[in-house]
Amino acid sequence: MMGENVLRAARYPFLPEAREFISRNIDLSLESLEKTGSEAALKRAVERVKNSLIFKEVKVTALDELNYVREMLSFPIAIILVSMIMNEYVRRMYALGESRGAYRRMLNESVETLLYIGEKMGVGGVLEDENTIRVKIPTYLRLAYSFHAPHWKLVNRAVNNGYVTMGKTEYARLIQVEVNNYVYEKTLEPVPPGAVPDIFRKAADEIVELWNRLETGKASRIPLKEREDTPPCIGRIIRRMENGENASHFERLVVATFMIARNRNIEEIIEFFSKQPDYKYSVTKYQVEHLAGIRGGGKKYSVPSCRTILTNGLCYPDEYCKGVKHPLRYGEKNVAGEPRIS
């Protein structure tokens, strides 16, 4: 791997070639890491996670890229640190930070590079013309379902012969989702406790300390409790609204769709919204009925997915959120009910 390619691997350290480069050139067993002077990489790894917690984005400068060995190495180390911390919030924020950073960098790439990254991440695309990329329908559905804007809905897309067409930016968005998934899954892999050198543990502590100082972390620092039916993200919005805090449009949407999905009756939901400073009975009633599909063509709105809630900065997961992709799945009990037949 030479020149440009090395820089690309440093810029996108989740690419398989970065992994290959490391395993070819560096002894990655945990014991030897301590010795091989990878302290710089460890420091950079801590920075990656801190970036994610503070800015929700891992920043990579041109200088970082030139330090390509350190840069590539810092990524798997960061993953080890995050999985050592064993906290759902840190996991999700780190995955978000890496994927957001990657997205921003991808926007400046040529379409060829973009297609290359997509290919390697399992988001294969085909160039249709200069500005249009085709993606297979199943790939598209896997990644795009959680975006809430109407133009992401399949029914509003150009669909033909098994493919969905889109521009560069949208394609980069799809790759971002996959990067997020990839990083998150990596951080779920447990690290054997004995295998971790002391400097790693110290580095992890440093991150925990920072996160303790950040206000946003508080909700999830509560130790394991009984699992409730309401996921923490929604519980948090509800509590704030009960205190009369003014909720954003999106927060209201989340709470209302959630209550509808849990079969709370409309009047009850409207009553709940009555504590909002700008509350008007008729307006709220109209909106809630709209979401419930009683008005406006009968389309019932679904509760946004975890991914959407996360990108809106409202995900405050606890350990029961591990692997959960949709808030309605939180606290779900799986019993075989009546058979559903056709």
Binding site: T132, K136, I137, P138, L141, R142, Y145, S146, P150, H151, K153, L154, V155, N156, R157, A158, V159, N160, N161, G162, Y163, T165, G297, K299, S302, S305, H326, N334, V335, A336, P339, R340, I341, S342
Partner: protein, 372 residues
């Protein structure tokens, strides 16, 4: 249903399965599917059953002679587990159900009413008893016309699946359900892994739900030339239909917003594929087993080759039984067509019918077996 009737059914079903068992081939791989059976009338489903081989499956059927046979659309790691989440879903075929009754209305002639209170009954769709005015129980037999409409929807579905979704014809399996509709199974590799959320999007696409009307109205207002735009898929179809309906772009531009919206609604009504959304989204669904008997009609869930679809005659080609005569006692049976013949209406009589028609009446709960 009287015991004699049930025994009559079981005898006829046995004959069918004995002769046709080799046609009952569940989707591959059989080991990862869950099976479900109705073994007796009015009893719950016997489910979470799995088989190691086709031979085991066939043996079970010939032993039990189930009234209905179902197989999961999904492949599971542990299909026999009673806990749905412990079954561990691997993937699932895409499954579509088109119900004739939600596509077209039933006719008066093919319906009957029964009053549970005073025992009166008659032909027609009457919801209040003519002598005591209590609510009636309605019997609706599916008509050829309804099934024709449903078949047309099925063809629409296949068109979208092949044209828009790029699904190879050999991966599309079409069936008459044996009673009121059509089933379409899609087992194209890369579509098997689509999640429930993704299937929801496919459903919305087919039912044309969530269409961005604003974009459409803007486009029409600009009067852009549709050929010059990169619209594809259902959106293009909707736009084209609106233009067709309006006559020309000029006329459309001249008409008010209300008219345009109305044209849009009508275009969507015509173009949408009337599938049952719940069925397609549900990955754990049990599908009626291809080539098995549907006990609500005594007809077979029959495979239809794509090229035969336009000319398929469900009420003739899905017959499972012979035409030796059987004797039935009937209260009320509306007119019905089966096997190319028309029967009825019957009222308070003993009738001799060919076995396939007799089974049909018994399955519908409209008559009891009274010997050969």
């Amino acid at each position: 249903m009287l015991q004699a009737s049930l025994e009559f059914l079981k005898r006829e079903f046995f004959k069918y399965y004995y002769e046709n068992i080799s046609r009952l081939v569940p989707p591959e791989p059989i080991r990862s599917r869950e099976f479900g059976f109705f073994l007796e009338k009015g009893r719950g489903m016997f489910r979470h059953k799995c088989f190691n081989s086709l031979k085991d499956f066939h043996e079970f059927i010939l032993n039990a002679i189930p009234l209905d046979i179902y197989v999961s659309a999904a492949n599971y790691e542990d299909p026999g587990n009673r806990d749905m989440s412990e079954k561990k879903l691997v993937n699932a075929e895409l499954f579509f159900d088109i119900d004739a009754e939600s596509v077209a209305a039933v006719s008066e002639e093919e319906s009957a009413w029964i009053c549970q209170k005073c025992g009166q009954y008659g032909i027609g769709l009457i919801d209040r008893c003519s002598s005591c005015n209590s609510p009636t129980e309605l019997v609706r037999l599916v008509s050829e016309k309804q099934l024709k409409e449903a078949l047309r929807e099925t063809e629409k579905l296949i068109h979208v699946l092949t044209e828009d979704f790029g699904i190879a014809p050999e991966n599309i399996h079409v069936f008459y359900s044996g009673n009121r509709g059509y089933h379409v199974h899609v087992n194209q590799e890369d579509f098997l892994n689509i999640t429930g959320e993704g299937r929801r999007e496919i459903v919305d696409y087919l039912l044309i739900q969530g269409l961005d009307e604003k974009e459409l109205l803007n486009f029409l207002k600009k009067g852009a030339n549709i050929e010059g735009v990169s619209f594809k898929g259902v959106k293009r179809r909707v736009y084209m239909r609106i233009l067709e309906k309006a006559g020309s772009m000029e006329k459309l531009k001249a008409s008010g917003r209300e008219t345009v919206l109305k044209t849009l609604v009508n275009a969507v009504e015509e173009l949408k594929v009337r599938i049952d959304p719940v069925v397609t989204i549900d990955m754990h669904r049990l599908m009626r087993m291809p080539e098995s008997i549907n006990s609500s009609s005594g007809m077979v869930k029959r495979r239809i080759r794509l090229e035969d679809l336009p000319s398929f005659k469900p009420l003739e080609e899905a017959i499972a039984f012979g035409d030796e005569e059987a004797c039935l006692k009937v209260k009320i049976v509306p007119r019905f067509s089966l096997g190319g013949k028309t029967f009825g209406p019957f009222k308070d009589e003993e009738v001799e019918l060919p076995a396939y028609a007799a089974v049909y009446i018994v399955c519908k709960g409209l008559g009891e077996y009274a010997g050969r």
